[in-house]
């Protein structure tokens, strides 16, 4: 075993047989399994761990858990690095590599330490007062401000680890597995409740893990005995889930609590390992047993490495078997630090003195200390400290009679560590996140849980209980009553008897007096906020605690002020001459401790970010090398390049083929809704702008749907399958929203209409074939259907078989060619497609994608909802007056079409545009002006909505929405582009076969 200078010869819960090698700032050290990085560093005598945010002051290990503001390190390197890790919560593993952050060139010699020299120039909020002149230099200044900011470095590659999430439900969620939480879980579990018990630490037990039990007895044994028995009991309960290494980070509405379980963080780990699991818990009852967080004392030069919380010192000694130093001074305003003094003394650490701010200390604990030979300096304070990279001495003075200043001589106490305690703040974070009210306890100077707003109870130290006996009995009671509230009334357990010394009262001392003016006393150690900064903020008019927080940044670091916030607001209260509760706390927000984005993302990464929706023929498109377009979640074939073809060449070929021979398109993404009921036609009359009552069975009709504000929402063809039965189609993107739109009107506005709507989008694969040879192609595969133009007219439907598959065939067209839309059950989509392709070989069949489809429809001047229309366009704007039936009665959106703005005749209207150079294809989104000016601004009268090269016309075509466009046919307008102005002529938007000859051919 290699020597760890400050490892105590025995004691602690670490596995002394297992040695673990790690490195810190490149140096190799050893610790034990069960250590945290902090305890292992301390075991090796390393106190200097990092530099502070602003002044780059040397900082050491301050706490022993998640409250740590100081000892932040960078773990690992490359893509698997983690910035800002608290050394106090990082479990040691073989090969762990940690480095200090925010220092250069080295931790001991940090050039930016110069900031500390200039700290007089850098008080709170200094940046708001300077860097303003000359204005043009601000971006330069800012660059340097930015460089100075931040702590660790972000990872620089793809995260190699995995994360997962799980939902969980329970009767009782217990957060915190200290004595209170364990007792609660035990009681609830015994009663028969489904229990989850989560604790952020690697071991369950909370403060009991640091309790040697020299002065405390539980039942007939030690606290450790009780802990062991209780854990064993819980492990034996089927409906109790124990989650160590699991932080409850957020408490949201309706008892939804987020837990973060660190599954692999304490293991060396390989790529792809499961690192963390996020639990989304819905609890019927929650019991908070989150304990209390020790406050620091605000005294002169309280930030040197080696100065730590007394509770932390106690934990290092008892739980990790590590001495925080060889000579220590304890500084306190309450009894709890005496336990630390006693335990350190028992472990052989020289306790120079307990400096106690209180005047009279007579209780059990001070007595025990005195008995152990520890000097107690009551009514004293520390007025300053020494030591560059580690505390080397403290100055102690007597308090004056009023207690607000010092008197007498200064005494220097040599030491290499200081253990301080400013009292305990209940960890009310989650309670407050759950919107519970806090009340202020004058006696203890703490905020504690008041009225709850959700089904939640607080027990133990987080409810301000300081005695173990109270923690256990409150835990049992809460567990029992929470179980009862959810109807579990099984076995009852009783809390064990506890023998423990009495605790004397604490005495708030928010700012320890010092004999030197202007000396720095840190309140927020991470962000370098001193008591003077708080004074300054108040002096400058930042009176609200929220202003003080934001002006000084106190409590805004990665620790969120767990140890410092109460001190800060008490100091502000003093400065304002106000009561502490009147100043109030800043808002507690999730997360309790920071949560990785990865855990919040879970498995929704690497291809699972969002579903890919595939049509039944998807594989075929892939096999053919199609390029795909994302339309909503669908992948749609965009075009099918052959060989070296460019996109334009491929699309031209596809477009021409559809007009000259036969084209085939996968249209399965089309929304399809089965609509039935005696009122179906009436219903369609109300949701579409045109009339539906007279549509014959077996016939199809095109319809446009408006929102009630009159703007076009969707369009599509609907077929009457029976007297009371219709099949509606919608655009791909709107399939789901149209269905819910229909349901909404049926259920909320017209519940009297007898209509049922059922989505059949995915039931059918839809293949669209079009072109002069489409009929021949279909005829070859559908011998039982009558396809001649007289019997199978445009806008009608037939059922039969195609390629031996039962099919519904609609004769409709979105291209202006004779077209058929063949619907078959989805499982046969691919078979149908293959059959059409095989049969089509004869006719030179050409698959075309969405791009060619867009060109084809644009040649015909058909609009696309969402492209020509953008939520501000009425059917009248689109020149579709013919589709609005004013005489049939009300329909959705009708009234809006006659508002003063919608009847304006200079509204933007759909027109076609020809560029003067037929080869020039306008960019979609190009803005159009009537008059070109030398420079902006220019009056824009419209914009290009669709623009393509039309191989059938042998020129470019565009559709545009232009103010008063219909009255401008023949006018010359301009498209001013960055490099040139393009001249365009306004035309009709129907470019090809305006009389529709081909459709009826």
């Amino acid at each position: 075993m290699r020597r760890q200078r400050f490892r105590l010869p025995d004691g602690g819960r670490v596995d002394r047989a297992a040695e673990v090698a790690f490195s810190f700032n490149g140096r190799r050290y050893f610790g034990h399994k069960g250590d945290t990085l902090a305890s292992a560093l301390l075991a090796n005598g390393v106190h200097l761990v990092g530099r502070s945010f602003k002044y780059h002051r040397p900082r050491g290990i301050f706490g022993s858990g998640s409250e740590e503001p100081n000892a932040l390190v960078q773990l690992g390197a490359g893509p698997r690095t983690d910035p800002n890790m608290r050394a106090t919560t990082v479990e040691l593993f073989e090969g762990l590599r940690a480095t200090s952050q925010n220092c250069w060139p080295s931790l001991r010699f940090d050039l930016r330490g110069i900031n500390d020299r200039f700290s007089a120039l850098l008080p709170a909020g200094f940046y708001y007062k300077t860097f303003m002149r000359p204005a043009r230099l601000w971006m330069f200044y800012e660059k340097h401000i930015r460089k100075a900011a931040g702590l660790g470095r972000a990872p620089d590659g793809c995260d190699p680890d995995r994360y997962e999430q799980t939902h969980a439900h329970c009767d009782v969620l217990v957060i915190g597995a200290g004595p209170a939480g364990l007792a609660a879980a035990q009681a609830a579990g015994a009663a028969g409740a489904r229990v989850i018990l989560a604790d952020e630490q690697a071991e369950l037990g909370g403060s009991l893990l640091s309790e040697p039990g020299r002065h405390i007895q539980v039942g007939d044994g030690t606290p450790a005995d009780w802990l062991g028995a209780t854990l064993a009991g819980l492990a034996g309960m089927d409906e109790v889930t124990l989650l160590p290494r699991t932080t409850a980070f957020g408490y949201y509405a309706d008892n939804f609590v987020g837990l973060l379980e660190r599954v692999g963080d304490h293991l060396p780990g390989d790529d792809g390992m499961l690192r963390q699991r996020l639990w989304k818990v819905r609890a019927k009852q929650v019991i908070l047993a989150t304990g209390a967080i020790e406050r620091s004392l605000v005294f002169a030069e309280n930030d040197r490495p080696g100065i730590m919380l007394a509770g932390a010192a106690r934990t290092y000694v008892n739980r990790y078997g590590v001495a925080p130093g060889s000579r220590t001074v304890v500084f306190t305003n309450n009894d709890s630090a005496y336990a630390a003094a006693l335990d350190m003394a028992a472990a052989g650490v020289g306790v120079e003195a307990v400096v106690d701010l209180r005047n009279q200390v007579e209780g059990d604990w001070p007595r025990l200390a005195r008995e152990a030979g520890i000097p107690v300096m009551q009514g004293h304070t520390i007025t300053g400290t020494r030591g560059r990279h580690r505390v080397s001495a403290v100055s102690v003075m007597r308090l004056n009679d009023a207690g607000d200043g010092v008197a007498g001589d200064v005494r220097q106490l040599k030491c290499d560590s200081v253990a301080m305690s400013g009292g305990w703040s209940p960890a009310v974070h989650l309670f407050s996140q759950a919107r519970g009210a806090l009340t202020f306890d004058e006696q203890e100077g703490t905020f504690r849980p008041g009225e709850a707003m959700q089904a939640v109870r607080s027990v133990g130290a987080c409810d301000d209980a300081a005695r173990l006996a109270d923690c256990l009995s409150a835990g049992v009671e809460a567990g029992r009553s929470a179980a009862l509230d959810v109807g579990c009334d099984g076995a009852q357990i009783a809390a064990p008897a506890v023998g423990e010394p009495a605790l004397g009262p604490m005495q708030p001392a928010w700012r320890a007096p010092s004999d030197r003016k202007g000396v720095r006393m840190f309140v927020d150690f991470q962000n370098d906020v001193t008591a003077k900064d708080l004074d300054l903020a108040v002096r400058e008019g930042y009176h609200s605690i929220e202003h003080v927080k934001r002006y000084t940044t106190t409590g805004m670091g990665t620790d969120q002020g767990k140890t410092g916030n109460v001190n800060a607001l008490a100091i502000v209260a003093q400065q304002l001459g106000a009561e502490i509760p009147a100043v109030g706390v800043t808002t507690f927000r999730a997360p309790y401790t920071p949560v990785t984005f990865g855990a919040i993302t879970g498995s929704h990464v690497r291809g699972l970010f969002d579903p890919v929706r595939r049509t039944p023929m998807h594989d075929w498109h892939v096999e053919q090398g199609a390029k795909f377009e994302d339309v909503g979640q669908w992948k749609r074939a965009w075009y099918y390049p052959r060989g070296e073809e460019t996109m334009r060449q491929a699309v031209d070929r596809e477009v021409k083929a559809a007009r000259d021979g036969v084209g085939i398109l996968d249209y399965s993404t089309l929304g399809k809704i089965d609509i039935r009921g005696p009122d179906a036609a009436e219903f369609l009359n109300r949701v579409y702008t045109n009339g539906w009552k007279k549509l014959g069975v077996g016939r199809c009709r095109y319809g446009v749907m408006l929102r009630d504000d009159g703007m076009v929402m969707d369009d599509g063809v609907t077929t009457r399958l029976g007297e009371n039965h219709f099949l509606m189609t919608t655009t791909t993107g709107n399939a789901a929203s149209v269905l819910s739109w229909l349901e909404e009107w049926l259920q909320t506005e017209w519940p009297d209409l007898k209509v049922y709507c059922t989505s059949v989008t995915e039931q059918y694969a839809t293949v669209s074939i079009c072109g002069p040879k489409a009929r021949d192609l279909l005829a070859g595969l559908a011998p039982d259907m009558t396809l001649d133009p007289q019997n199978f007219r445009h806008m009608s439907m037939q059922e039969g078989t195609v390629a031996g598959i039962a099919a519904r065939v609609l004769r409709v067209s979105f291209t202006g060619e004779v077209g058929f839309e063949i619907n078959v059950p989805s499982r046969y989509g691919r078979a149908l497609w293959d059959a059409l392709i095989a049969e089509g070989e004869l006719h030179g069949i050409t698959p075309y994608g969405t791009e060619a489809m867009h060109v084809l429809r644009a040649e015909k001047g058909f609009f696309i909802a969402g492209q020509e229309s953008d939520g501000t366009v009425t059917p009248l704007d689109l020149g579709m007056d013919w589709i609005v039936n004013w005489t049939k009665g009300d329909f959705i959106g009708r009234r809006s079409l006659s508002r003063s703005d919608t009847v304006r005749d200079d509204r933007k209207q759909l027109v076609g545009l020809f560029t003067s150079d037929p080869e020039t294809v306008l960019d979609e989104g190009t803005q159009i002006v009537a008059t070109v000016k030398d420079k902006p601004p220019m009056d824009m009268i419209g914009h290009v909505t669709s623009s393509y090269y039309s191989p059938n016309l042998g020129r470019s075509i565009a559709m545009a929405m232009i103010q008063g466009g219909r009255g401008r046919k023949g006018e010359t307008l301009y498209a001013p582009m960055p490099d040139k102005v393009i001249e365009v002529t306004v035309t009709d938007p129907i470019f090809f076969d305006p009389d529709g000859q081909r459709l009826n051919g």
């Binding site: 498995s603 009921g677 059922e799």
Partner: protein, 197 residues
């Protein structure tokens, strides 16, 4: 429209070339595309209508939310107070539709063949509940969701119907049929595969 005759039916996971069974760590996941499905809507408050349905297909429609009934070879899943999904043997959906349509002709009701709109993933084994919990916010504890229970809910980012068809006490452990919209099948399969680990 009934089923096709000559042509090849293809499952939405056909591109996985048959790799549609996974067994690991106490769970078994397999695609089970072969079941007929019929969506039925009508007035549950109308006893005459209910009787007509029972006469036609010999199954009582479940009335309690989130439950199902079973009369082999049919089962009926509650989807909404006026909506059910009847699940039948593959290929028999045409007959079921025809019987139902005959029975409901005089009523305001709707019968729609949705066999191809969803495929079914059959998930079973002791680890099935935990696996589902990774993507489903429902309480899936056996006390809360048991044999015959049905839910329409989200699994990962897909809307599914969940149906427990075999009891936990059964040797194979609980069995869940997950009805997945066809176009989401590949996504959800990938997600489940990833979640199984």
């Amino acid at each position: 429209m009934g089923s096709g005759s000559m042509a090849d039916a293809r499952s939405p996971l056909a591109h996985l070339d048959g790799a549609t069974v996974i067994e690991r760590d106490g769970v078994r996941l397999a695609e089970n595309p072969d079941a007929g499905k019929v969506n039925l809507r009508g007035d549950a408050g109308d006893a005459v209508w209910l009787a007509a349905i029972q006469a036609a297909v010999e199954i009582d429609l479940p009335q309690a939310p989130n439950t199902s009934t079973e009369t082999p070879p049919l089962s009926a899943l509650w989807l909404a107070p006026d909506e059910w999904m009847l699940v039948c043997a593959d290929g028999s959906e045409g007959d079921v539709v025809a019987s139902l349509e005959g029975a409901v002709a005089e009523f305001h009701a709707s019968v729609v063949d949705v066999t191809d709109a969803r495929t079914v993933f059959r998930l079973s084994g002791a680890g099935a509940r935990n696996l589902l919990a990774k993507g489903c916010a429902l309480d899936l504890h056996p006390r809360a969701f048991g044999l015959g229970d049905v839910a329409q809910t989200m699994l990962a980012k897909a809307a599914v119907i969940l149906h427990q068809t075999t009891d936990d006490a059964d040797e194979a452990g609980p069995v869940f049929d997950i009805y997945v919209p066809r176009s989401f099948a590949d996504y959800l399969w990938s997600w489940l595969t990833d979640a199984i680990g």
